[in-house]
Symmetry: C2
Subunit: 249 residues, 2 copies
């Protein structure tokens, strides 16, 4: 290929003695943050346009654009087409919470993973579950209870309801190699999900299963998923104290 439509690059030959290191978009991000912090630019204030910044930093506008775009993505600044870029007044930011497969999560800590199915049967879902999934009373549901272990110590108690019609293949699945969690992740793509995080006191059964005293605080992670408006599953996952869900960014 090797076309050279511009071929310009005229003056270069004789003029430039020192080679300028290209300015990275990272450098620019850092500099912008520094200025915000140093109160050179105050919240709500309009900052110079991309063109100006590019001139100031001695780089291309696209480079400034990328820096500003990424800052806007994490809510540090706000941009509008004709209006320009301004420092966010209320940098309401969002964290991204990674939701791994339980097995991977356990193994990532260097522990040995194991799970055991406590029960698996078709039955009518209780009202709260039906309501969350928005399903009629007679919808065929599969109820699976499963205990996940890390180094043979209870790690998570999973209480799951599956809408059979949405994942018919699950009828044949016995979960003897893959946990319901992993099976669904691999076999049932979803487009929407709602997660809830909270804390509760262990009831008698939960305490017994997790090997804890009744009333022990449990970390609750519940999740409901849909594929294009069709409810797939609702799961409630309980963790013993000490568990910490982390996200860094």
């Amino acid at each position: 290929m090797t076309r050279q439509p511009t071929g310009a690059e005229d003056g270069v030959a004789g003029a430039v003695a020192e080679a300028r290191m290209p300015v990275s978009f990272r450098t620019i991000k850092a500099e912008i943050l520094k200025r915000i912090h140093a109160r050179v630019w105050l919240p709500g204030e309009l900052i110079p346009g991309e063109e100006d910044l590019a001139r100031e930093f001695g780089c291309a506008r696209v480079t400034v654009n990328r820096a500003l775009r990424e800052l806007a993505e994490i809510g540090i600044i706000e941009r509008k087409r004709r209006a320009g870029t301004r420092i966010a007044e209320h940098p309401l930011r969002e964290a991204r919470l990674e939701i791994p497969v339980v097995r991977v999560e356990v193994e990532a800590r260097g522990a040995q993973y194991r799970f055991s199915i406590l029960s698996r049967k078709r039955m009518d879902a209780p009202e709260p579950v039906r309501a969350r999934l928005d399903l009629p009373a007679d919808a065929e549901m599969l109820h699976v209870r499963c205990l996940h272990f890390a180094d043979n110590r209870p790690w998570q108690f999973e209480d799951r309801w599956i809408h059979v019609a949405a994942v018919p293949e699950i009828a044949q699945e016995s979960f003897d190699t893959l946990s319901p969690n992993e099976w669904l992740v691999k076999n049932a793509p979803f487009s929407e999900m709602e997660i809830g995080l909270s804390a509760v006191a262990a009831d008698a059964e939960e305490a017994a299963l997790l090997g804890l005293e009744r009333g022990t605080p449990l970390f609750v992670f519940d999740r409901t998923t849909w594929l294009l408006d069709q409810p797939i599953t609702h799961v409630r996952m309980l963790h013993p104290p000490g568990y910490r869900m982390v996200s860094r960014f």
Copy 2:
């Protein structure tokens, strides 16, 4: 944010020969997602290189690059320099957790917000806090404890450590109009953050402050923030039972 319909959405397939509308990186993202969903490309599988995809879509490599970069950012695919791009094995989906200012969060529920500073003094931080912030023992720290109310009922107990050197202006702040939370959000931008979610039993003091029995399960939300490697603050927020952090997407 920053969505726009593009209006393009051309059939792509193959027919369009003349007068090509530029292919948007959005189009490419969508197409890639479609292929993953349709199992054209399976988890773990290597997909064609940027050059090939650019040729296939009839666009510049940079455009494909942007599409793939953004998909990699949300964990859909994984990229390595010499190795190429592959579909993520464990489509560990991630939830976006919005982290509003407490006041806004309370007011959004139609409740009346109020807060009260329990203590505010300079003191050495305990070892765990220092460790998390990666600060030496003699770093000057400000410790602030604050109770947030919704309709006069305790909503959150905030226990915060601030690295004074990172936010010197805080020395003069008395927090009589803005809570530490809101003050920092407005005045101390950060570039990195780590959040942790867990459950604990209320100790005697926490129980007293929140008007609960000792041992009651509390939902814990802790957050540490940095601005370019400089630690800013570490905060631990405790919520009474009933609190549920939700995220839908």
